[in-house]
């Protein structure tokens, strides 16, 4: 098994930390992982993206030309990465920031209402975990149990009271993803 993912959105949406938690969960399952962020001006506002690879075998390049799955959380990200999804790959987007929807027909596109749901449930801090839930519903690359372990490892202890809310967000995220 090897899954090559790009996660892209606005700075502050939790793109990098979502990738980190996914990679950490992969590590917990004994898999090979890599996490390669765009660390430039992007990180200082504007768009942010991270390439995450989870694999049974050693990973060659942390930088890729095309992806199995693209998760795009704003319009510029959709415009940039739609073309880089492998044929028969998947594109996941959140409806909130998207005006022009995906056009490719040789890939499967999935929409989520993560931003809307997170706002409704007053769980905006966990927006990225809703999205991660959607991904895991589609591709159970790692178990929710290991994601929770990864969260426990990566979140500072003072935030551990937020762990149940994160789990709830992941499970809810699994419900709100649908193919278009």
């Amino acid at each position: 098994m090897k899954h090559e993912i790009i996660i892209s959105g606005f700075g502050g949406q939790g793109v990098l930390s979502m990738g980190k938690i996914l990679a950490y969960a992969g590590l917990m399952e004994g898999k090979e992982v890599s996490w390669m962020p765009a660390y430039g001006p992007e990180q200082r506002g504007g768009t942010a993206n991270v390439t995450v690879i989870v694999s049974d075998d050693p990973i060659s390049s942390p930088i890729l030309s095309s992806y199995d799955t693209a998760i795009v959380l704003n319009q510029p990200s959709l415009d940039k990465f739609q073309a880089k999804v492998k044929p028969e790959g998947d594109l996941i987007f959140d409806c909130f920031n998207i005006i022009e929807r995906p056009t490719r027909t040789d890939i499967t596109s999935y929409e989520m209402t993560a931003m809307e749901t997170a706002a409704e449930q007053n769980m905006m801090k966990c927006f990225n975990m809703f999205v991660l839930g959607g991904l895991l519903k589609l591709h159970p690359i790692v178990s929710v149990e290991n994601v929770m372990k990864a969260l426990r490892k990566t979140l500072p202890e003072r935030h551990h009271n937020l762990l149940p809310m994160n789990e709830q967000a992941i499970l809810k995220g699994m419900e709100i993803i649908r193919a278009i």
Binding site: K20, A23, Y24, V33, M36, Y39, S61, P62, I63, S65
Partner: protein, 364 residues
Amino acid sequence: MTNENDILLLKGNEAIAHAAIRCGCDGYFGYPITPQSEVLETLAELKPWETTGMVVVQAESEVASINMLYGGGGTGKKVMTSSSSPGVALMQEGIAYMAGAEVPGLIVNVQRGGPGLGTIQPSQSDYNQATRGGGNGDYNIIVLAPNSVQEMADFVDLSFELAFKYRIPAMILSDGVIGQMMEKVVLPPYKPRRTEEEIGRDCPWASNGIGLKKRGSQCITSLELDPAIMEKRNLHLQEKYRQIQENEVRYQTSQTEDAEYLIVAFGSAARISQKAIEIARARGEKVGLFRPITLWPFPQKEIREYAERVKGILVVEINAGQMVYDVKYCVEGKIPVRQFGRLGGIVPDPDEILNALDELKKQS
């Protein structure tokens, strides 16, 4: 058996910091610069001065850092600094002094694009500076090029070992990709810092007041005004460099047994090239990878041998063509050699490397 707590998901820069503490480093002196600031940040977080006694100083500049290294190394301490390209440019005078005075030490360069302040994005354009000395005079330093977070961790101890074995500065030449990416890393076991007595025993040259037999024997300097003595000293350095070239070449090959074409690449470029080779192999193309691990000493003999076996060589490096001259020197015009790289902080992707490979095939 590796302890579960020793297996972590770390950035390359963070791995350097963890490894430094664990391999008994005595002191770190550095100044923040993207994309390597996590080295100093991680050290500040781990507070090694409370555990191993390792000193961590945020110096006032890169020039100060390298001169602290000169002083610390002169007393036989395992000392290091880290920076990125413009900062390492500032250190060149100090590195030349260390080379001239035969002071060991570790310099980590997490390269970014240049020239000048350039960009904060990854690059490998300091290859020439690193492998040709960089400062004034006839000298070389040992240059190791890690291609993973694991090697970032492993090369810290290796660099110190080589630096002290040969009394020479050693450099880890990394880049923004390896520094910023996170991967699984197994950290090395803890090794205690050397005691003053151990330093006195292992480094009789060290100017630390221990093992002092006669006055003057511990004078460490790169200055010598008598040309006859200075020439001798230079010849001694050259002889040392020859020994290093003979004994310390390190490289790795992958899928070269039946290869018709060879990609030569180091560090992050080697990782991306490996992916390109995976794709090429799936199409039935016989391509292999040669990855120099020591950029100086360069694996000349080995490249020379491949020049007799393959139809052409593609050198992939994230610069405008620097290592390609070392490869061409070894190939001696026997087969076509092409170079491919991106500039200004843009990292090539596997597809671009495949296109360059196709161009090479047309040429040979």
